[in-house]
Amino acid sequence: MELQERLREFDIQSYTKGVRLRDKAFEIVGAIATLLVLTFLFAVSVDLLIDGWVRIKDPNFYKSFPSRFPEEAGILSAWVGTLYVMSGAIFWAVILGIPAGIYLEEYGGKGKISRIIEANISNLAAVPSIVYGLLALGVFVYRFKFGESILTAGLTLGLLMLPVVVVATRESIRRIPRSIREAAYALGATRWETLFHHILPYSAGGILTGLIIAASRAIGETAPLITIGALTFIAFLPPAPWQDFIGMLKSPFTALPIQMFNWISRPQEAFHTNAAAAGFVLLVLAFLMNSIAFYLRFKVRRKYQW
């Protein structure tokens, strides 16, 4: 009896209205949260742009060495250093990462070795970047005697990029259907012919995308470079690689994020302006690299639809 009573009094319309309202409310909360995160990104960029505008628009900022006088200080040695270090990092990431990815995906199978390597790479991906810096300091700088050089920095950032490149390589190879391989084998191709004639060309776009994304993360890495002892005050450029390759590798260096960090830590406000300008340059670089990666990914998706 009581149940019937309650059912009669139950207002289904206002109940469903409430449910719909809560549903809508959560959708709005979610949208606001998403918007908030994007606003944060926007705020960071605008803050840097406004704070650093005086120096960003000043062409001398890109052409001068660091200096005691904030108005004269520039990022010449920093962006040249970043260029060298990143070239090294990309070199090592390609040399070590792509073969490792190919091995795991094409040759590894489900064997014990490949399982160990796989688990190991996912562990490496989660190691804090400053620990890579300690590795570089203890092994490359002091035990291998590479010094606080471009070579050490390139190697360090290359190792940091390694897990991302391996995963990207594996994923883009995995997308190639088995039938392609079987067709190649059926025509008498060996494994490496299949690899070089089919697998690599088809996966190149995806691998490149992963490589650029990894590089866009590595270019802003500061902690490992500070740990290996990158200098902050470098008023010369490393020798050009076509003149003195070894000298270039052994040259001390500074890089954009290091230079920026140095300027932030100074008490004078004028240096903060420089820091903001350097930060904006870094942000633009990271943005450009991400855009290229985004465009490439889109292209690749279009090109190969199995």
Binding site: V37, A223, I264, F294
Partner: protein
């Protein structure tokens, strides 16, 4: 170019060995990390400046101050642990609710168009250099919070744990949100449809059907995010101060493990000096902490129920 079958086979074997060797390099890297941390940690604990083994190890865990760079050397790790976990804790307080809301919104509510236009920006947010976030924490968030707190008559120091905590929270958010979204996506559509067919709303379905089904993946994402926050360096080096202390007040300056490593590395360190070795000892602690969190995360992920 035609090669004989024998040459082809030889190339095949050669390339196989080359690829396997390159794959094994990653193991070499891990081994080198562990080796260098271990060796220099042992050297740290046997160094005369720390009192030698085993008293240095006891001091490491019992002293309440961290001053290995001073004349009077105290080597208690707890102030650094305190700073590290406080900042990481603040950051997950920001990232967990926001990240969950973003992930549920993107996975369950947002239209395809919204999702496709938001995700690249979230990806880009992951690529923003951390030193830039440090600048933002120090010169934007901190002054803003100082003004906010002064409304209530609370004084906040220029270096503090709160502002880097918040910024790191937003920093790890895209990473966490995309992992959570992946595990929500992994929940099969028929579970949602079953729930809808029983008359449940989208919200109810998301909270009581999809979330529980994806819970191990979500927890794993949180742990990985937390481990990232612990290892984050530049934001804390810039904005958290260099004052290792045991405190529960987020408005005071603290120092994290990573912040200490940066502080020491900025100076000129003689190889194998006590200060030099100390960053490897704390680096070892950092490595172990993150390894524990990552292993739990991987374990949880492997427990994800397949539908």
């Amino acid at each position: 170019m035609t090669l004989s079958l024998g040459t082809k086979k030889a190339i095949d074997v050669g390339i196989y060995i080359f690829l396997m060797f390159m794959g094994a390099v990653s193991i070499l890297v891990t081994a080198a990390i562990i080796w260098v941390l271990l060796v220099d940690t042992i050297n740290f604990f046997t160094h005369p400046d720390g009192g030698g083994f085993p008293s240095s190890l006891i001091r490491f865990f019992t002293e309440r101050e961290w001053t290995p760079t001073f004349y009077d050397k105290k080597i208690g790790i707890w102030p650094l642990i305190n700073g590290t976990f406080m900042i990481a804790g603040i950051s997950v307080l920001v990232a967990i609710p926001l990240g969950l809301a973003v992930a549920i919104y993107l996975s369950e509510y947002a239209s395809w168009k919204v999702r496709e236009s938001v995700k690249p920006w979230l990806d880009f947010l992951e690529a923003v250099p951390t030193v830039v976030y440090g600048y933002f924490a120090l010169l934007f968030i901190t002054p803003f919070l100082q003004k906010f707190f002064s409304l209530f008559g609370i004084e906040m120091e220029g270096m503090n744990a709160l502002s880097p905590g918040i910024v790191i929270g937003v920093m790890i958010l895209p990473f966490m949100a995309s992992m959570v979204e992946d595990s929500l996506k992994g929940v099969p559509q028929y579970l949602r449809e079953a729930s809808y067919s029983l008359g449940a709303s989208k919200l109810r379905t998301a909270l009581f059907v999809v979330l529980p089904a994806a819970k191990s993946g979500i927890l794993s994402a949180y742990l990985l995010g937390f481990s990232r926050a612990i290892g984050e360096t530049m934001v804390v080096a810039v904005a958290a101060g260099m004052y290792p202390q045991i405190t529960a007040n987020p408005l005071e300056p603290v120092q994290t493990i990573t912040g200490y490593i940066v502080q020491v590395a900025l100076g000129d360190l003689p190889f194998n000096s006590f200060e030099y070795l100390s960053i490897f000892a704390v680096g070892m602690v950092l490595f172990i902490i993150t390894l524990i969190f990552n292993s739990i995360a991987v374990y949880l992920k492997s427990k994800t129920v397949g539908y």
